[in-house]
């Protein structure tokens, strides 16, 4: 089993190294060495007044929070899927109840307008 993961790591790592090398080709490490007027962000001709890196208001934060709780059910679903046929109809009912319960949370999110931009 560990051998298989070694293969995953080697394949992923090799690819990352090669692409990282390509992506770092010809970079100027110190932006202050570049001609300043060429370093302004693309805005169509004007200089930005502030840096883009500021407190960014993600308008979907309720959805993100609900997702964080909701995806915990995946922890249970993967092992459930493996034993599903073995356990039979009971597994279907139990997961149905579980998911129905969690859907209430999503339903509440939707009802409260959490899916639209805040």
């Amino acid at each position: 089993m560990l051998g298989a993961f070694l293969a995953v790591v080697v394949a992923t790592g090799t690819t990352m190294l090669l692409v990282g090398w390509l992506a770092s080709w010809g970079r100027t490490p110190d932006p202050t060495e570049a001609h300043w007027s060429t370093t302004l962000p693309v805005l169509g001709g004007h200089e930005p007044r502030v840096h883009a890196w500021n407190r960014f208001h993600a308008r979907y934060y309720p959805m993100a929070l609900v997702l964080m709780a909701f995806e915990m059910e995946m922890m249970f679903m993967y092992p459930w899927a493996v034993v599903f046929v073995e356990v039979g109809g009971r597994a279907l009912v139990e997961m149905g109840v579980f998911l129905a319960l969690l859907s209430l949370g999503v339903l509440y999110l939707w009802r409260e307008g959490g899916l639209s931009w805040q």
Binding site: L65, E71, L102, L115, Q118
Partner: protein, 214 residues
């Protein structure tokens, strides 16, 4: 993989997990801090795979990546100067914290070395996932349903706490703008207080809900 290779891998991952864990609190950029924490989680996940908890280890990758993306969103949203462009220290009681941290680590380390845990190797290395599934469908069934209720409560709680307007009126009534300089109580900008205008529509789901006001 042989025992030596596993040992080398373990130490690599363990040192990386600790190093990234340390970097979390030593980087100025919040995005870097968040994804250092993710890197720490990923290394622990890799150790779990080495511990033959294959499912748990891989699931760590999955779960923690989602959690850290959400974390990054909130870090950037709520930390002033999220990229650390203008470096600053946001710590208090640093010495005590270091002492307690080292104390905790050493104490637990001593317990780990001294405690004589009876070894009992895995009986069925290939069947760990299936065993977990049967456990969840059998003995831990109740736990799973309790978890379900907990998660629903979490979701509802998160929505209630975070949404702009609940059924008891706008959540920001009486809010005050922040101090520009934390040490100077007079630096609060004189702004119009939030009167909830513009978010009256936020309580209705399903549509984009943008009026021409705001």
């Amino acid at each position: 993989m042989t025992g030596l290779a596993v040992d080398i891998a373990f130490w690599t991952f363990a040192v990386a997990a600790a190093w990234f864990g340390w970097r979390v609190f030593r980087t100025d950029s919040m995005v870097r801090a968040t994804f250092c924490l993710l890197a720490s989680f990923l290394n622990v996940g890799a150790i779990m795979v080495l511990l033959l908890a294959e499912y748990l280890g891989v699931a760590m990758f999955f779960m923690m990546s989602v959690e850290m993306v959400v974390m990054a969103i909130f870090m950037v949203a709520f930390m002033m100067n999220p990229a650390g462009l203008n470096p600053m220290e946001m710590v208090h009681q640093p010495r005590a914290a270091i002492a307690v941290g080292i104390g905790a680590a050493v104490g637990l380390g001593v317990v780990a070395v001294v405690a004589d845990l009876p070894p009992a190797a895995l009986l069925d290395e290939a069947g760990t996932i299936r065993a977990l599934g049967n456990e969840l469908m059998g003995a831990s069934m109740l736990l799973m349903e309790v978890v379900g209720v907990t998660l629903v409560a979490t979701m509802v709680g998160a929505v209630v706490l975070s949404s702009a307007s609940g059924r008891y009126g706008s959540a920001d009534t009486g809010s005050v703008p922040p101090l520009l300089d934390p040490d100077d109580p007079d630096s609060r900008p004189d702004l119009v207080s939030a009167d909830g205008e513009g978010d009256a529509h936020a309580g209705h789901g399903g549509h984009g809900g943008h009026g021409g006001h705001g």
